[in-house]
Every structure is written in structure tokens, then in C-alpha cells.
Symmetry: C2
Subunit: 301 residues, 2 copies
């Protein structure tokens, strides 16, 4: 083997899509300050940074299955089962719901809004069943589904399978319900599924256009995403009006940071949100998805 043909001889080896997805999970939780979330400098009681490290390690097998072309539902359930092997509870369920189809798309050289849309639209009833089974591995904060959909409440886990089969509902159909519920809180991750991952691609462009260490870029894009739209998890746990208030505060601080090029205003906001118990977890999921797209697009670490 000569040095010219040796892929290892240039000082390193490119990351695969599954590796970039795992790195996106790690960079997301490392970015600081991310007001209200676990980050490099903050734990939230018994939910600690190390649980996110273990979650990212355990999720990798499922991400590799997505890269290898396994069905979205199978890869997702596997990733969640691996993620769940730590004491912190749900660390990255929502991130993985976004990352699995994105990895599938990247592995087929189709990491575009259209490419990932084709993948999520092609999901099947079996994918939906696997998605429901994933809820058996970990407690996930969810809002009620529409009142006529009790048989499809995700908390039913595997027990929802007969209803899914009977009605012929695919995972994409389920995401459609969650994205635009008749009542209750629209799910921000489900909305990505049905809009070609619109916000994640937009945030990835901002990560790539930004400058400085990736941890700082992550903090800025997180705050921008939170400022743009109310966070689903905050809306579920504290109500829609509080979620709007949280986004309003994020917008004020984002403006301050943009004017001063100094992240310290976000440190104060982090204390404020942690004290109030506001945990914008869905915005963190979007941030991880954006980091993945940016890494695939050449963001260097």
C-alpha cells in the first residue's frame, strides 16, 4: 500500500453520516449557554451532562442502522433503546426522531429538504409500530393526542399496533397528526417531518455562516431558534402562553447578543430559565439536527 492510495495517510479519516449524527448529539449538549437545558456548564438536578454522553454512545448503533438503510422505525427504536441505558431518563429521543431520517438521506447523498421528505413520506405502518414501541424504553413528555385518537396515544406503546394496522397509519401519518393537532400543542419535531425539515436546514446555514468555536455557534443558533418559535416541550409542561413568553425573552437576549457579539447575556438567561424550570428541549432537538446538517455540509470541528 503506497501513501498515495492509503486513506489513512492524510492525518485522519472522514466521518460517516452516522458518526456526524453522534457528534451532533455531543456538540448539541456541549454548546453553552443554552438557556434552560443541560449544557457544558449546567446540569438540571438529576439530569446530568454525563447522561447525554451515555445517551449519545448508546444511540450510535441505531444511527449506523439508519446509515445502512434499515427502515426508519427499526433504526429509531434501536437508537432509543441504546440511548435509554443511563440513569437520566429521556435525553435525546426528539433529537433521534430528526436525526434518523436525516442520516438515511445523507447516506443516499440526498441530504436536502426534498431528499429527506421522500424518506419520511415513504415510512410505513411498521415504522409507526416501531415508533410506538420506542416509547416503552423511556419516559417521554408528550401532549395528549386529539380526543378521537386515544387508541393512538403514544403512551400505549406496542398496544397501539392493532389500531395502527387497522387504520393503515404510517409513521408519516402519525407525524402529520402531531404537527397539526385539532387541539393541544403542535409538535415542533413532527412539523420538521412534514415541512422538509425546514427549520433545521435554515439553522444549519446559519451555523455554517457563523464564525468562531462550534460551541459558541451552537449557543447562538439555539437562541435564535428559540426566539423564532415557542418551544414544544415548554408549551407541554408550562402552557402555550409561557412558551411564547420564553421565546420573547430569548428574542430580547438574542438581539442583545447580536449587537454586542458577547454571549454573556445568555448566561443570565440560562440562570433565569433554570430557576423557573423552563426546559426548551424541542429547540435543543432542532439544534442537534441543524448541527448534523452543518457537519455534513462541511462545518469543521
Amino acid at each position: 500500500m503506497t501513501e498515495e492510495t492509503d486513506p489513512l495517510a492524510d492525518g485522519g479519516r472522514d466521518r460517516t453520516p452516522a458518526e456526524n449524527a453522534q457528534l451532533a448529539l455531543l456538540l448539541e449538549v456541549s454548546g453553552t449557554p443554552k438557556p434552560g437545558n443541560v449544557d457544558r456548564h449546567r446540569d438540571l438536578g438529576d439530569l446530568r451532562f454525563e447522561h447525554f454522553m451515555a445517551g449519545a454512545v448508546g444511540a450510535a448503533d441505531g444511527l449506523r442502522r439508519a446509515e445502512a438503510g434499515d427502515p426508519v422505525g427499526v433504526a429509531f427504536e434501536d437508537a432509543v433503546a441504546g440511548m435509554a441505558n443511563q440513569q437520566g431518563g429521556n435525553t435525546q429521543f426528539g433529537c433521534l426522531l430528526l436525526l434518523v431520517p436525516l442520516v438515511r438521506a445523507a447516506a443516499s447523498d440526498a441530504l436536502t429538504p426534498r431528499g429527506v421528505s421522500e424518506i419520511v413520506k415513504a415510512t410505513t405502518v411498521e415504522d409507526a409500530i416501531n415508533f410506538y414501541r420506542a416509547f416503552e424504553h423511556v419516559d417521554v413528555a408528550v401532549d395528549d393526542l386529539p380526543s378521537d385518537a386515544d387508541a393512538l396515544d403514544v403512551r400505549r406503546g406496542s398496544a397501539a399496533a392493532p389500531t395502527l394496522r387497522e387504520r393503515g397509519l404510517t409513521l408519516y401519518d402519525i407525524m402529520g397528526f402531531s404537527a397539526e393537532p385539532d387541539d393541544g400543542v403542535p409538535d415542533g419535531n413532527a412539523r420538521e417531518w412534514v415541512t422538509g425539515f425546514d427549520r433545521a436546514f435554515g439553522a444549519a446555514d446559519r451555523l455554517l455562516a457563523d464564525e468562531g468555536p462550534v460551541g459558541d455557534r451552537t449557543a447562538r443558533v439555539f437562541l435564535d431558534l428559540l426566539a423564532e418559535e415557542p418551544d414544544t416541550l415548554v408549551a407541554i409542561t408550562h402552557g402555550k402562553s409561557t412558551a411564547r413568553k420564553v421565546s420573547h425573552r430569548a428574542a430580547e437576549v438574542a438581539d442583545e447578543i447580536a449587537a454586542s457579539d458577547d454571549l454573556s447575556a445568555a448566561e443570565a438567561l440560562a440562570e433565569e430559565f433554570v430557576d423557573a424550570g423552563y426546559n426548551p428541549g424541542t429547540t435543543a432537538d432542532l439544534t442537534a439536527a441543524a448541527l448534523f446538517i452543518a457537519l455534513e455540509g462541511g462545518l469543521s470541528v
Copy 2:
């Protein structure tokens, strides 16, 4: 499939040895304060926390090859090549030199001093050649080998292969030279290879016997290891006498912490070491190895 026989139905899936090794890399760098090293709360100039995240992601493929039974040298070079794909330079070369044989041992249910000794003693000339090749992927701080060994200076990379073959030197032989050089600094990692990973197993027992979050346990065991013996990297970069002084300071602070059950004295030491440019990287390698052994032994995260 019934719930009784479904390995995923219990809320999580056990980690494999390769996954525990990757987690050990992540927990090592996350433990804080680890005076003089990059940790959750400190970067060292252009060597930042995110580089260790990317290093751990890239190393996983080689760790899985070790788990699958690939030769130690092949798995190690692959892990280093993956690790090197980030801008920080050498993040975890020494950790991987310890973890690869430990993973091999764990994968054969032989994670004991005797089990890992058998693995390192069985290394071949080809393993040695792969080890030398690994130096081509990343700049590693090294001390000079004994004066009659210039042809075996690790900085020669692949060019050392003819000499290794001619003299029939295995990787275990090379580690023997580095562990007890005629002059120069004995290498702490090489000494683990030739002593049945004595310090790593001892530190793992302490991690398991300790209490509290794993990040705190990591900080305490790091300081104990540094107090016990001068760090190789500090000795190479600042001389043996400074390395002894650094260990003496670590011992003072370790005593203070043991008496007060409060890690804050180590925060001050971290500032002191960072200001002085003391970077006890070999002690961090030992800490990662100890974390791996402890995770395999049931340390829960």
C-alpha cells in the same frame, strides 16, 4: 416476540465493550476539575472540549475492531486515524493505546490483569508496524528513545518498518523499551502494558468504591493518580523535576479534598496548572482506562 424475550423491552440495552470504551473517553474529558487538562469547564487555547468529542466519535470504529478481535495494531491505528479528524491535534492517542487491548480483553471475558497481559504479550511485529504508522496521523509529544534506538524513534512512522522486521520487534517489545528506557522519561502508558495495567485496575476499584456523580469520581481519581506518580507528558515537556513538583502539589490538594469532601481546592489547582502550562495528559489516559474497567465492572452512569 414476547416482552419476556425482547432484549429491548426493559428500558435500555447493555453497552458493548467498544461502547464502554467510547463512553470512557467522553467521561474522562467531562470530569472536572482535572487540573491542567481540558475538562468540562476548561479549554486549553486552541485545544478545546469539542475536539475531544470529535476524537471520541472518530475512535469508535477502531474500538469496535478491537472488540471484533482484529489485531491490536490494526484496531489502534484505525482508532487513531478516526480520532485525528478534528482540528485540535492529539486528543486521545494515549487513551487508545490503553483502551484497545482492554477492549480486546473485555470482549473475550478476560478483563483482568492476567487477561490483558496475555493480549499485549501476544502482539506481533505487524502490530508494532501499525503502531508506528499511527504516528503519521497526528503529532504526539514523545521523549527520545534510547540512543541506540534512533532507527526506532516513533517519529519515523512507517519508515521504521524495515528495522522492526529485521530485529523481530513486537509491539510488546517496543512498550518494554519505553517503559524502562536506558535514559529519558519512562512512559506511563507503556508501563501499564508491561505491568498488567496495574494502575488502571487499581484506579477502577477506587472509582467503583467512590460515591456521587461519575464526573466527581473522575476528578478525584485523576488527582489521586497524579499524586501517586509523576506524569509522563509533564516530564517530557517540563522535565522530571517539574513533574515531581506537579505530583507533590496534586498530593497536597488530594489530601485537602479527602479531608473536606469538597472539590473546590482542585479548581484553584486547575487554574495554577493551566497558568503554568502543566498538562498531565498521561494521567488523563490512565483515568480513561480506569473508567473503562469500572464501566465494565458495573459503574453506572
